[in-house]
Structure formats: structure tokens, C-alpha cells
């Protein structure tokens, strides 16, 4: 379903080159939950950002459903991010001016077309699923860190995407809250959604169907 082959990425800041990926490769099957584990600086977040099209590789190939998506035009890239890919970040990145429900609906607020009643119902169902039923009208500032991350997960779920990318989704949460978020992600994997998660926590990685280790920008 998603295939990255020999991805190379080097960051350049003021003439200084910092190699991040030196030929990383990965294949994710439909409904597979893959955890990418590695130390800080191993290149796992850069790799995840390239997989999710947030970052362009210097070389290598990224294929999704058999199509090369390495150099898609901006409009096609936006459509892919909008419809097929979903992201959960270490920080929840909720818009503070929108309620929890509106934040969940955010992927559908990209145009002047109004959000349908069906999508609203789906948003409420997603909030219920992450245990936030009844808190849809609250602003992010009135929710705990764990609840905010759940809203972010609900936002990823509402699109019914094919692949969910999660970058240290529990990194900013306490142990108990982190566990409940992991339960959610594991459930999603079991529901047929492909999940690619970056973590440095081996225990959380053990919940995935497959764990991949990264070191120095390549798969260990």
C-alpha cells in the first residue's frame, strides 16, 4: 500500500549539511500497524514526515497504492493529505479558537462548502470513540493534555483515511494517558487502518504488528 525505497534526505542550514536519512526503506501493508523505533536523531521523524508527504526527499521513491507520489503537484498532494493520509503529532496542534468538535471537523473546513450533517454526526461518533462524548463544545484550553491528544486522534479518524501517521503520540502524555492513547491506536490497526507510528518507547512499539528500528538514517 505504502512503499518507501532508498529515501535520502540531508538538511542544509547556512551551508552546513546534516544527513538525516541515508537510504531508508519501508513497506506498509493495508491494515498494518508499524512502529518505527529509534534513538533521538536516528531520522525516524524525518522519515515519517517524508512518508506522510510533509517533507520531500532528496532522492528515493515513495509509492502509494502503486503510484509514485514522490513529486506530486501541490493540488494532488493536498488531496492526498486531505483524503488518504491522517496525522497525529506529539503535540496535539488543535486550533485554540475552535471547539473540540470543530477541531475534529477541521479536515472538512478547507473550502466554502458547508460541512454536511452526516460528517457532523461522524465527528461526534469519533469523539465518543476516543472517550470525549459530551465534551465536543469545549475549547482546547478547557481540556487536559490527554483529552487534547484524543481530540487530535478523533480529527485523524473522522476523515476515514487509509493511513494514519503518528509521531510520538504519547510523547507529551503521562503514562496512564499514554496507555489509553495507545489502546486507541491499536484498535485502529485492528479496524483495518494502516498505522505508522514513530516512538522511542519499546513498550508502546510492542503494541504494533511490526516494529522497525532505525539508526543513523537507515533501517537497523
Amino acid at each position: 500500500m505504502l512503499e518507501a525505497a532508498n529515501i535520502i534526505k540531508t538538511f542544509r542550514t547556512r551551508g552546513v549539511e546534516s544527513p538525516a536519512l541515508a537510504g531508508a526503506s519501508l513497506t506498509v501493508a493495508p491494515g498494518e500497524f508499524v512502529a518505527i523505533v529509534g534513538r533521538s536523531g536516528s531520522g525516524k521523524t524525518t522519515f515519517l514526515n517524508i512518508l506522510s508527504t510533509l517533507l520531500t526527499p532528496d532522492s528515493g521513491q515513495l509509492r502509494y497504492k502503486g503510484e509514485d507520489i514522490t513529486a506530486l503537484p501541490p493540488a494532488a498532494l493536498n488531496r492526498l493529505r486531505r483524503e488518504d493520509f491522517a496525522m497525529v503529532f506529539q503535540f496535539h496542534y488543535l486550533l485554540p479558537c475552535l471547539t473540540a468538535r470543530e477541531n475534529v471537523l477541521l479536515p472538512f473546513l478547507h473550502s466554502l462548502a458547508p460541512v454536511s450533517a452526516e460528517v457532523r454526526r461522524r465527528a461526534d461518533a469519533c469523539l465518543d470513540r476516543v472517550g470525549l462524548g459530551g465534551k465536543g463544545d469545549k475549547l482546547p484550553g478547557h481540556l487536559s493534555g490527554g483529552e487534547q491528544q484524543r481530540v487530535a486522534i478523533a480529527r485523524a479518524l473522522v476523515k476515514r483515511s487509509a493511513v494514519l501517521f503518528a509521531d510520538e503520540p504519547t510523547g507529551n502524555l503521562d503514562r496512564t494517558t499514554g496507555e489509553s492513547v495507545m489502546d486507541l491506536l491499536a484498535d485502529l490497526g485492528n479496524d483495518g487502518l494502516s498505522v505508522v507510528m514513530v516512538t522511542h518507547d519499546e513498550a508502546h512499539a510492542a503494541r504494533a504488528h511490526r516494529t522497525v528500528h532505525m539508526a543513523d538514517g537507515v533501517m537497523a
Binding site: 510533509l54 493540488a75 493536498n78
Partner: protein
């Protein structure tokens, strides 16, 4: 619910910032509106007062000049065509032109020659009230003629003819009485005698006729050429000329006031725009992660651009409406306080309100253009990965 909910909620959430920005922008718009409304009224009032210093359009009979000579003998210049105008018809038609409201005074003249004690002198028949409307600088020793046979003598003419108030003299077939002597004006008025139009027409046997008509038109609202064209159209047998030097002099004074106010308005507008631009730019920097998130969710660049522009549209529309109403109210107070605008009125214009709103929205969006463009150029990777 659609994309517009994001800028609207953002404005509401940051209400203190939004309110402050709105206040500054509204004050700017109110100042500009008030300055422009007041300048319009002051300009027109100023021009009305300047009318007292002379006419700016001359209406004469259309004639052709022919220099005749035959057999080596020159008979001089001969005029072909109508030699005078029908006074009542001419005045009526001038008053009825499309820009009739811009015509401030119509002063007909009948020019004749007379001999007083053997000395030739020009006699000008005038309508006193109309003449005095365009000769506000006249000052008289004695009195302005109140009687039909009254004569006002120019200073040089009075000196050469030895006339003083109370003297009687023969003009054409009638006897007239000098009621006053004009103080020196430095112009043609000093060398002639002025009488009432009816008296001159009767004395010189030309009832209902006028040789030319001076017109004082207000040029601030429309170009003088338009008024000239309309008078020419209304009077096919007449030649109509704009006295360009008078027009230019008068418009210079009016334009100076209006240019000064326009400059001040532009400075205020620039400051307001800079405020909006700077605030939007700081908002973009502050919300860089939000923008990164939106881009990662598949929002297009135009979509992000629209979010920031719409905030500017809302601010601009609100500031435009509030500013126009406040500016109108302010200008009413200012006009009431100014002596120069005595009697001036200012009607509330819905079209003015709509135009101001549109203009301010455009200016506001223009101010937010760079910040919005900057926001739309943010790559999600740059905004989110940097953390």
C-alpha cells in the same frame, strides 16, 4: 460551517486585539471621511465666497469680424451676426442647464456710450443685485443706487467728469442722478458709469436687450468646460467662453484646501494600513504552527491565504461602516462649528457608506496581502518539524 469559521472564531477569541485593531482602523476611517466631507463643504463654501471676486464664464452674441477695404480705402472691422442678446431668454436658459445648480450668479450687461458735458464715457447697464454678487470687492463713496435712475460712477470716470454723489447728468434720452462713486478697483470698472439695466435699456432705446452676460459657476463639482458646453448648447446663437485665468485662480484656492486634506487622509490611511499589516504579520508568526497543521491536513495555499484575507475583510468592512457613520457625525459637528460653512448641509449617503466600506475592505485586504501570502507559503514541514 465552512472555512470562514476559522477567521471568524479567531477574531472572536482574540477579541481584545481585534477590538483594538478595529478601533484604530475605525478612527482612521472616521478621520478620513470627516476630513473629506468637511473639505467638500469647505471647498464649495470657499468657492461660493470667491464668486464675489468675479465671474468665470462670458456669454456674448456670436459674431464674425470682417476687415473691409476697397479701392485702397479701408473701412475698418465690420461685425456680422447678432449684435446683442435677449436678456430674459438668455438668463432663463442659462439657469435651466443640467448643471444649473452649479451656476452661482448670472449678471447681464448692456454697454452704451454717452457724452457727459462733451466727454465720451461708457455706460454699463447692470442688474444691481446680480452685479454685486460677483463684485463683492466694490466699495462706494455715497450709496449704491436704490432708484431706477441712479448712477454709480467709476473712480476715474467721476474724476474726469467732475461727478460727485447728488449730481445729475443726461444719459441717452434720460436724466440720471449720481448716488455714489466707486472706490478705485484697479480695473475697467474705474472708467465707466453704471446704471440700472431697465434704465439703460430705456435710455439707449434697447428694451429687453443685453450685450453680454457674465456667469459665475462653481467648478469644484464639475469641470468648467462641461458648464460652458451646456450653456453653448442652450444658447445656439451665443459664444460662450471660460475665463481660464479666473477659473484657475479660483480652483487653485479650492484645490489647495482639498489637496492638503487628501494628503492628511493618505497619511492616516497609510498608518492604519501599516497597523493592519503589522498586526497580521505578527499574527502569522504567532500562528505558524496552526498554519503548518492546516497545510498538513490538506488545506491549499489559496485556502490559508483566504483565511487571513477574510480576517482583513471582516475588519475592513466593520471599520468602513463604523468609520463612515462616525466620520459623518464628526463632520456635522465640525461644519457646524466653522463660520466658513454657514448654511451648508450634509446629507447621509448610503452610496457613500457602501463605497467607503468597499474601499476600506480593499485597502485592508491589500494591507494583509503580504502577511496572508507569507502564511500561505508556509510549508507544513517547516512549521511542524522545527519543533
Amino acid at each position: 460551517m465552512n472555512i470562514l469559521v476559522i477567521p471568524l472564531r479567531n477574531l472572536r477569541m482574540k477579541w481584545a486585539r481585534s477590538l483594538l485593531l478595529l478601533l484604530v482602523f475605525t478612527l482612521g476611517v472616521a478621520s478620513i471621511v470627516a476630513l473629506n466631507l468637511v473639505s467638500g463643504v469647505v471647498g464649495e463654501s470657499l468657492e461660493r465666497k470667491l464668486v464675489a471676486y468675479g465671474a468665470n464664464i462670458l456669454v456674448m452674441p456670436r459674431t464674425e469680424k470682417l476687415t473691409v477695404s476697397y479701392g485702397g480705402f479701408s473701412m475698418g472691422d465690420m461685425l456680422l451676426g447678432a449684435s446683442d442678446l435677449d436678456e430674459a431668454r438668455t438668463m432663463e436658459r442659462i439657469a435651466a442647464i443640467h448643471h444649473g445648480s452649479r451656476v452661482s450668479a448670472i449678471a447681464p450687461k448692456l454697454v452704451s456710450m454717452a457724452r457727459v458735458d462733451g466727454t465720451a464715457v461708457g455706460v454699463i447697464g447692470v442688474r444691481w443685485e446680480r452685479e454685486m454678487a460677483i463684485k463683492g470687492y466694490w466699495a462706494v463713496d455715497g450709496e449704491f443706487p436704490a432708484r431706477e435712475d441712479g448712477v454709480l460712477a467709476g473712480s476715474r470716470a467721476a474724476a474726469s467728469l467732475g461727478l460727485v454723489p447728488g449730481d445729475t447728468l443726461s444719459l441717452g434720452s434720460r436724466t440720471a442722478v449720481v448716488t455714489g462713486v466707486l472706490r478705485p478697483t484697479g480695473g475697467d470698472d474705474d472708467s465707466v458709469l453704471f446704471t440700472g439695466m431697465d434704465f439703460a435699456q430705456a435710455a439707449f432705446g434697447r428694451p429687453g436687450r443685453a450685450d453680454y452676460v457674465e456667469v459665475a459657476a462653481l467648478c469644484a463639482g464639475c469641470p468648467i468646460e462641461e458648464i460652458v458646453d451646456q450653456i453653448a448648447e442652450a444658447l445656439p446663437g451665443a459664444e460662450v467662453q471660460a475665463l481660464q485665468s479666473v477659473v484657475r485662480q479660483r480652483m487653485y484656492s479650492v484645490d489647495f484646501v482639498q489637496r492638503l486634506i487628501l494628503s492628511v487622509s493618505l497619511i492616516i490611511l497609510l498608518i492604519a494600513c501599516a497597523m493592519v499589516g503589522a498586526t497580521m504579520l505578527s499574527s502569522v508568526n504567532e500562528r505558524i504552527r496552526e498554519i503548518g497543521l492546516l497545510r498538513s491536513l490538506g488545506f491549499s495555499r489559496p485556502g490559508v491565504f483566504a483565511i487571513f484575507c477574510f480576517e482583513a475583510v471582516v475588519l475592513g468592512a466593520a471599520a468602513g461602516c463604523l468609520g463612515y457613520v462616525a466620520g459623518h457625525a464628526l463632520s456635522l459637528r465640525v461644519i457646524g462649528a466653522l463660520d466658513i460653512t454657514e448654511g451648508a448641509t450634509l446629507a447621509f449617503s448610503a452610496a457613500g457608506l457602501a463605497l467607503t466600506c468597499l474601499l476600506i475592505v480593499a485597502v485592508s485586504v491589500l494591507s494583509a496581502f503580504f502577511p496572508a501570502w507569507k502564511a500561505s507559503s508556509v510549508e507544513p514541514s517547516e512549521a511542524l518539524i522545527s519543533l
